[in-house]
């Protein structure tokens, strides 16, 4: 059973800000509810006033603008993202990551913005957004601010969002031209599970040089981009040496834990295996 709750469903951002101001810490945003209702049921979530944002038209945008990039509003479901041919072609790493989340039914409700606001270390969309260098547009009664996604997560289930603030949308800039993106997710079963380890990679050419970006889920308190591993790959040597250097650095930067999905040792090994696999693919394709 769910605890006692109050519910409101504002139709505009102004109304939303009023509700948030009135209830402060007691209020919690309700998007698809696929995380929130479970944590309320488990009494992990303490908030008791749910503010449903699904009636706010402004949050419903899914739009691509040349130059600016892709805008994903707070109420855009994973299903809509998956159905976008443009996202599949232009942002394959994001498309692949979204595809791995939950199942077809869940994707009818679950949102991308909910996935990052929930701030699970296992959030599958996060590594993809990290390598794409997405920005999070945050609004409140006071105004708005834009934060790079790698500054957004602050701990397990914690973000930089302050009381009264709401994520309006995520903006994903134009990826480097001719880039190759991929998300590798290791699960206990072939579908419908959180990642034991997930790795997103983006490869592209800067002049003739191959550059890579690497980000991980389920290996640290927050989803994690590991720039040191990217740099280790960039330095001299044969392709094999560069890959092994990146693999070593990545495995030193993660801090996995043991849980029902896998031991810390296994996760550490997966970080190496998946990083190596991903980099080899990028060397071949890009």
């Amino acid at each position: 059973m769910l605890p006692k709750l109050e519910y409101s469903s504002p139709k505009t951002l102004e109304e939303l800000f009023e509700v948030l101001e009135k209830y402060q810490e007691k209020a919690k945003i309700l998007a698809g509810g696929t995380d929130l209702l479970v944590s309320l049921r488990d009494r992990v979530e303490k908030a008791r006033h749910l503010v449903d944002i699904k009636k706010i038209k402004e949050l419903d945008r899914l739009e691509y603008r040349k130059g600016e990039g892709l805008i994903i509003g707070a109420t855009v479901t994973l299903r809509r993202i998956l159905e976008s041919q443009l996202i599949r072609e232009k942002y394959p790493v994001l498309w692949e990551a979204v595809k791995t989340i939950g199942d077809v039914i869940l994707k009818n409700r679950a949102t991308l913005v909910g996935n990052i606001c929930n701030a699970s270390p296992a959030a599958d969309s996060a590594p993809a957004l990290l390598v794409l260098e997405a920005n999070v547009r945050i609004v409140s009664k006071e105004g708005s601010r834009e934060v790079p996604i790698d500054k957004f997560f602050t701990g397990v289930k914690k973000t930089i969002l302050r009381s009264g603030e709401v994520v309006k949308e995520v903006v994903v800039p134009e990826p480097p031209s001719n880039s190759f993106g991929r998300y590798l997710k290791m699960m206990r079963v072939w579908s419908e599970d959180l990642a034991i380890v997930g790795v997103a990679g983006l490869g592209y050419r800067e002049g003739r040089e191959l550059r890579v970006r690497l980000a991980y889920s389920s290996v640290a308190p927050t989803p994690l981009r590991i720039r040191e591993a990217e740099e280790a790959f960039t330095r001299d040597g044969t392709m094999e040496e560069r890959i092994e250097r990146a693999v070593q650095v990545a495995s030193q930067r993660v801090s996995p834990i043991s849980d029902v999905r896998g031991s810390a040792e296994y996760r550490l090994n997966l970080v190496k295996v998946l990083t190596r696999r991903l980099l080899k693919q990028m060397v071949e394709v890009v």
């Binding site: 709750l5 309700l30 698809g32 509810g33 699904k54 077809v104 039914i105 409700r109």
Partner: protein, 156 residues
């Protein structure tokens, strides 16, 4: 806890009820409306057995609040057949033995109908993908998949 008045259509019939905001759509269907075809099991979105159609799309009703469905249209397994006549898919489930204990059957029928409606000739892969949010612990899934595919073939 203040109750809210909501109006919605379920299986073609309009209803207005008052519900507390902490009640789920699953509760609304089973306890308020006494439609027991929709099953309650894990109540955390894992098993999918409470799946119903909300405005034509499948949702896990344990993860939707009753107050959220104000103004919406809901279809449960009770709403699939017409004038006492089983649908082609329901008949195919019987022919293929696509059930044993039957507990998961309403959810598989709901998703099966949804799939066939939007994609009259799904491939086996598409069927498997559509079903992957639903758990069955008797059949091993194969007869369910075959039942759905038999209906899609029949439509050719």
């Amino acid at each position: 806890m203040e109750k809210k008045k909501i109006t919605f259509k379920i299986n073609g019939v309009e209803k207005t009820v008052e519900v507390a905001p902490n009640k789920t759509l699953l509760w609304l269907i089973r306890e308020e409306l006494k439609l027991k075809g929709t099953k309650k099991a894990c109540e955390r979105g894992d098993c999918g057995l409470c799946t119903v159609l909300l405005n034509g799309e499948p949702v896990k009703s344990c993860l939707v609040l009753a107050v959220e469905v104000d103004g919406s249209e809901i279809v449960t397994v009770e709403g699939l057949s017409r004038d006492g006549e089983l649908t082609e898919l329901q008949k195919a489930f019987i022919e293929h033995g696509a059930l044993q204990c039957g507990f998961c059957t309403p959810a598989f029928l709901i998703v099966g109908h949804w799939l066939i409606n939007r994609n009259p000739r799904p491939s086996k892969e598409e069927v498997v993908e559509a079903l992957n949010g639903l758990l069955c612990r008797c059949t091993g899934y194969r007869p369910i998949i075959e039942a759905i595919l038999s209906v899609s073939k029949a439509k050719k």
